[in-house]
């Protein structure tokens, strides 16, 4: 995959925003991919956590907003606890979700969910899911 990096695709302000929202510094990442190795959801992601960190370092915000990685993240912190650079990657994923959610765009719509599904799910699944997927 080739991603063009130009003044069109690169957004310095998005790097700052991700850092502010997450409280982390994505530039510290050294691309070792321990996060990807630890991630239990990696096989369902279109881009691995390491690649997402790379996109974030270059401020490729348009690319970041169209991929599913952070929507597939389960916030389990397996990446965060093993990161040799001490980055809380789960917080970076949260920052990426929030960039969309704070524009009042939901990733899932509670009102569109099947009644049978809601009836079956334990309350914590709904609370946790709505926290992560709705604004």
């Amino acid at each position: 995959m080739t991603l063009p990096i130009s003044d069109q695709s690169l957004s310095l302000s998005s790097i700052a925003e991700i850092n502010t929202l997450s409280g982390e510094n994505v530039k510290v990442c050294m691309q070792c991919a321990t996060c990807t190795g630890m991630c239990p959801m990696a096989q369902e992601m279109d881009f691995s956590p390491r690649k997402v960190m790379h996109f974030a370092q270059f401020g490729l915000i348009d690319k970041l907003l169209e991929i599913n990685t952070f929507w597939k993240c389960a916030s389990c912190h397996a990446c965060s606890v093993k990161c040799p650079r001490g980055i809380d990657i789960a917080k970076v994923m949260e920052a990426l979700r929030q960039q969309t959610l704070r524009k009042s765009k939901n990733h899932i719509e509670p009102s569109q969910m099947a009644k049978e599904t809601i009836t079956e799910l334990p309350q914590i699944a709904l609370v946790a899911g709505f926290r992560k997927f709705t604004s």
Binding site: T20, L21, S22, G23, P40, M41, Q43, E44, W71, K72, A74, S75, C76, H77, A78, S80, V81, D88, A90, K91, M93, E94, A95, Q98, I108, M113, E120, L121, P122, Q123, I124, A125, L126, V127, A128, G129, R131, K132, F133
Partner: protein
């Protein structure tokens, strides 16, 4: 001895089997369990954005309820409740700026400064009863039960609130050893089950859960124990669908650790509400002749 207790929403309905068995076990061990008044949802997941405090208000409000009751410790069972309460408590203890903002926002409540300690049930069991004493109280040893302790993510991560260090599963393992079970090594003990991703995947199609069941089966584990209603849902209630869809090779019955504790203490199996587990969970225990009826 008396202890304050925060149950959590799911434990009052779909995970009654986690709640009732745990409370009955503590009472059988001589501990009076007092549920806190007027508790609300803990929020299930800790908010990870640096500027977001509103999602800390829910868990902190519960800690205020405990403080109002004069509790020094608050025990919880559900791994997600434990995590959100403990992490919010940590903010209130260590971050004066955030603490003041949260206290100012909740102008209808008394101020809270992290006075209450959030303790997981397993830690409390070790500290207040101890494994030796627990062993003496066992009426039905779980002899021959090859158990895998499954911690999932929120009991151990992040380290600041983990009930024990990464890679250590001694609290649950020691409890099961005291109950007479055979504790098995389990490579996926702290792998995430997929958690709330159940909302975004079709039933039985969650790869994270399927991997865990396959690892457990491969390691010869015949029963998995958890502390979290969402893990139980993903690994237990979805298991038949995983099998039907060919994502796992064989069943591994799942339990709340508290159910097996109650069984070993010889409590009435009605208290364990096995009807809320997958049917195979009850069958395994029946086959092993562990169950005591009233």
């Amino acid at each position: 001895m008396k202890i304050s207790y925060y149950p959590g929403c799911t434990l009052k309905t779909k995970a009654k089997n986690l709640d009732i068995a745990a409370v009955a076990s503590l009472e059988a061990l001589g501990v009076e369990v007092e549920e806190i008044d007027r508790w609300n949802c803990c929020g299930a997941v800790h908010s990870l954005t640096a500027d977001d405090l509103i999602h800390q208000v829910g868990p902190v409000r519960n800690l205020i309820r405990a403080k109002e009751m004069g509790a020094e410790k608050l025990i919880t069972l559900c791994s997600m409740c434990y995590n959100t309460l403990a992490r919010a408590n940590q903010i209130m203890k260590t971050d004066p700026v955030k603490r003041d903002t949260i206290n100012r926002f909740m102008d209808e409540e008394i101020d809270y400064n992290g006075e209450v300690e959030v303790v997981h049930y397993l830690s409390f069991l070790k500290e207040a009863i101890g494994w030796e004493k627990l062993k003496q109280q066992v009426k039905v040893p779980l002899t021959g039960l090859k158990i895998g302790s499954y911690y999932g993510c929120t009991l151990q991560r992040p380290a600041e609130v983990g009930i024990e260090p990464f890679g250590h599963f001694e609290l649950m393992n020691d409890m099961f050893r005291s109950l007479g079970a055979t504790v098995m090594g389990f490579a996926d003990a702290d792998k995430c089950c997929g958690s709330y991703q159940v909302l975004s995947s079709a039933p039985g199609e969650n790869s994270a859960s399927a991997n865990i069941i396959n690892t457990a089966a491969g390691q010869g584990i015949e029963a998995l124990a958890t502390s979290c209603p969402l893990c139980e849902f993903n690994l237990g209630k979805q298991q038949q669908q995983m099998l039907d869809k060919g994502n796992i090779e064989q069943n591994v019955p799942t339990y709340y650790f508290s159910q097996l504790l109650a069984v070993a203490l010889g409590l009435d199996s009605e208290l364990c509400h096995f009807e809320l587990n997958d049917r195979q969970s009850l069958t395994l225990l029946e086959n092993k002749n562990y169950l005591v009826a009233a």
